[in-house]
Amino acid sequence: MAPARRVLVTGVSSFWGGKLAQALERDPSIEVIIGVSPDDPSLELERTEFVRVGTQHALLRRIVQAAQIDTVVDSRLIVDSTTASERVAHEGNVIGTMNILAACAGPDSPVRKFVFKSSAHYYGCEQDDPAFFTERMQRPHPPRTRLERDIVEAEQAVASFAERNTDITVTTLRFVNGLGPDLRTAHASLFALPVLPSILGFDPRYQFIHEDDIVAVLEHAVREELPGVYNAAGDGVLVLSEVASLLGRRLAPVLPPWGTGLAVEPLKLLGVKVPPEMVSQLRFGRGVDNRKLKAAGAPLRHTSRETVQAFAEHLRVAAIWRDSAEPYRYEREVEEFLRYSPSVRRSTDAPENLQA
């Protein structure tokens, strides 16, 4: 199979989507990078073409056909229900996935590879879980939260897409909780609190993946052939009390074991929204078996422990250099000027696609 040349990244406004586009930009063998998202990119992109689309990604097929895309990286799945309302998350996760798959399917489709960024929320967190989920395991109970249901549904759509389109390499990556200086997740804001609230009587097992490893794993999937489902996680499973001590925080078992869903409401006053998936993680925890991905040669450079340590280092300096750097803001006119204006002198080794 020919290596990826013309790549489309969905969810390019997310941290990992933007980072992946930046990483692919550095590779001259990749001719075209198109980023689509309902929101503006949050990172500065040099030659990635940004196209704003609706949350349902309905018109994607025309872009795929027109640009003769051979690799689609679908990194747009909402895996943190604090970032979007239930309805928006459902539109994006279920209807969006459906439309993106439809855009890649068909006899005349130029797409040869589809990389789907999913989440370990697929497995849920239950009392009778195995300690390490492998890719072939089913979750023991039906999904309990709206988000989990959406993720399971989206993955089912991807799985049946893979079955029907055997000539397309379909990679599904189930990422555990990502952590890093640039990621805004519910867990990151929980860990930033001066004490780490936990559920009385529970010390759940937690696994993390460093934000750089998320990008590296996605890039690896673009470059190599990884058909099938893979768990993406750092080595090692920590317990929450260990996480607290790595962060230099005290574990405060202030949440009651019963009625936890209600008891987390006051945390909102501290700026921490606790989604239902997090409540079940705080109770039962989760571990996944990442060996299949490691065997496929994926570059996982940080263990769970190192990921938390790196995050702790970030927290220590974050208070000091907060607000010092202006965050990047996407300005369409400027970006278009830089890409298309004849007045801009472009370096000669720049790819040819700019005139296309």
């Binding site: 290596p3 195995p130 300690a131 499973v237 299949k292």
Partner: protein, 281 residues
């Protein structure tokens, strides 16, 4: 394009490396909590309270996985920790023993934290397979399960049904030997006189026993062990690779091996009871 090495069937090479700075294992087992308990409570119970007498410790393999199978009794069973301690104290190469426990413990706020930290692992077939086959660890199972711990004093040393033979299947899948263990003393250490079904349902516990100290001394009564003399006998290991490939698919064989092991432990218990002159000394 660079060709990836075909993912080998054996993923054992890709197990996470051990991080020496950590005091907690990937299973949530805590060296620190276990160490403190070991130096205080376990030491006291093992050497002075139960005065454990161990035979045949050499039957526990020095390396590689093995499934330890024992009889089970006592409302808050002291037998598990004493077997763990016996391997630690007497074996030439002491190794941690993982103990399979009911999923109930993971969800109960009273036990959830402690049970995992002292070596309890939920009795999921995938967990046992990973411990035995992938990590080559020692795993202790009580095939009688709850049927063993809730039986009454009048039924002492009469083995219950050995589950559905799941433990034999697990050992066969992992290709590790089974080491049967006969343990005498735990039945007298915490005799159960009655089970109160109503209170079991009200408290949400696995069972609600009446022992010499529970429930009238409250939760502390759960720890009120009588000082019975413990005798632990490790029996000769049974290799599980003697039946050709994939013996676990043969339900009849699994059932037969399970019954055989049950029979051996039962015979050994009768033998030990016959030789025992006193429950306490």
């Amino acid at each position: 394009m660079k060709q990836l090495p075909a993912p080998s069937k054996d993923l054992r090479a890709y197990l996470p490396a051990i991080e020496p700075e950590r005091q907690v294992s990937d299973w949530g087992r805590s060296e620190r909590v276990e160490g403190v308990l070991d130096k205080t409570l376990y030491d006291f119970l093992y050497h002075y309270w139960f005065r454990c007498e161990v035979e045949g410790i050499e039957h526990v393999p020095a390396d590689g996985g093995a499934l330890l199978v024992s009889n089970h009794s006592g409302a808050l069973p002291p037998d598990a920790t004493m077997i763990l301690k016996a391997v630690k104290e007497e074996h030439s190469r002491p190794r941690p023993v993982h103990l399979t426990v009911e999923h109930f413990f993971k969800g109960n706020p009273l036990f959830s934290m402690l049970v995992a930290k002292i070596g309890g692992v939920p009795a999921h077939p995938a967990n046992v397979q990973r411990l035995l086959y992938d990590e080559g660890q020692l795993v202790l199972v009580f095939p009688e399960g709850r049927k063993g711990t809730e039986k009454l004093y009048t039924d002492r040393y009469r083995l219950r049904r050995f589950g559905r033979g799941g433990f034999v299947e697990a050992a066969m899948r992992a290709q590790v030997p089974i080491v049967p263990i006969a343990l005498v003393g735990a039945e007298e250490a915490m005799p159960v006189f009655a089970q109160i079904g109503v209170l079991k349902r009200l408290t949400g516990l696995l069972y609600f026993p009446v022992t010499p100290t529970f429930p009238h001394f409250g939760l502390l009564g759960f720890l009120g062990y009588l000082p019975a003399k413990f005798r632990i006998r490790f029996l000769e290991p049974i290799p599980t690779d003697q039946w050709g490939p994939e013996p676990y698919n043969d339900r009849g064989l699994v059932q037969r091996v399970a019954d055989e092991i049950r029979g051996r432990i039962q015979d050994e218990l009768y033998d030990m009871l016959a030789k025992r002159t006193s429950v306490w000394l």
